[in-house]
């Protein structure tokens, strides 16, 4: 699925979850199995994939961790999510890489949160 193709966030999100599930480990994983791994109801996965429900940010985080992708992969965008946009760091000098990573993840989460809000 092209990241630039669809401006419709909701549709993209549904398709992406389904695509990742069906290609998981090369042979796919059932909705039931995925739900068990995420500790949620089976029908919730189904509702995400049909667009009946929108996953919450914490669900997206669980999905991203399970599929070993970035939260940003669930959204159609050309932009580089890895860039912490206009961050003005309190202690910008000599920041350890892992702290920069925290800020990058924060920027990514905020963007995902905004996109989810717009999609609702």
């Amino acid at each position: 699925m092209s990241k630039t193709a669809s401006p419709n966030v909701s549709e993209y999100l549904c398709e992406k979850i389904r695509e990742l599930r069906l290609s998981f480990g090369g042979h796919g994983i059932s909705q039931d199995e995925l739900a068990r791994h995420l500790d949620i109801q089976t029908n919730t996965v189904s509702r995400w994939e049909t667009g009946a429900y929108k996953p919450k940010l914490k669900d997206l985080d669980k999905l991203a961790e399970f599929f070993a992708v970035s939260v940003s992969d669930f959204f159609p965008t050309k932009e580089d999510f890895t860039e912490p946009v206009n961050a003005l760091l309190r202690a910008a000098k000599d920041l350890p890489d892992e702290d920069i990573e925290v800020l990058r993840q924060f920027a990514e989460l905020k963007r995902a949160q905004l996109k989810l809000k717009k999609a609702k």
Binding site: L57, K58, D61, V71, P84, V85, N86, A87, L88, L89, R90, A91, A92, D94, L95, P96, E98, D99, E101, V102, L103, Q105, F106, A107, L109, K110, R111, L114
Partner: protein, 215 residues
Amino acid sequence: MTRSDYYDEMRRLANEQRALFNLLSARVTLSDLRKIFKHHCISINLWPMPGISGGNMKKVKGAYMHVDGQPSVLISRRLPDEQRIFTMAHELKHHLVDYDEAARGISCQFEGATDVKEIGAEVFAAELIYPDITFVSDMDSRSIDKDACTDRDIVSLKRSTNTTLSFTALAKKATFLGYAPKGALAAVKWKKLEEEMFGEPLYKRINRYRQFPRN
């Protein structure tokens, strides 16, 4: 604009915010700052938070960023209240002053621009919590002359005003305003001195009682 002008402007801006939000004393609380942030539509996020793994945020007390037009701050939960208040005030300056610059990609006009921005944020935060004019008036009312302020005066001042500005920041302010010679208030063990002057704080007594209830 010189650095000095810039810092004066930060003080003016801080006092403008104080007036706008009716901050009348040297005690600015987390609740006050939450109201200010809400007014400016800045979301407050505490780290650690779900969805962010790794890192230890040892060096970063707080960060301000705007993602797709939404201003947000990330503040470390580990900070004690006074530091959290100061950090939030610091980040507020970035929102009020550096937001547009960042969005337009305009760099600061001074040499070492980032430093000026950061120092400006410290000046803004200190002024927002405890304005210089109030500090000078408090020193005068205690008959503390220039170059005569001691570490004990700072502790007494903090106790009597109930300010949320930290001992270290008060010491810096006293030095900057000429009430203490340079270096005279550096490396003071403030909490220890406070305990020496005013006795063991209540929380320590409660903790001791919890550990040894019969003592």
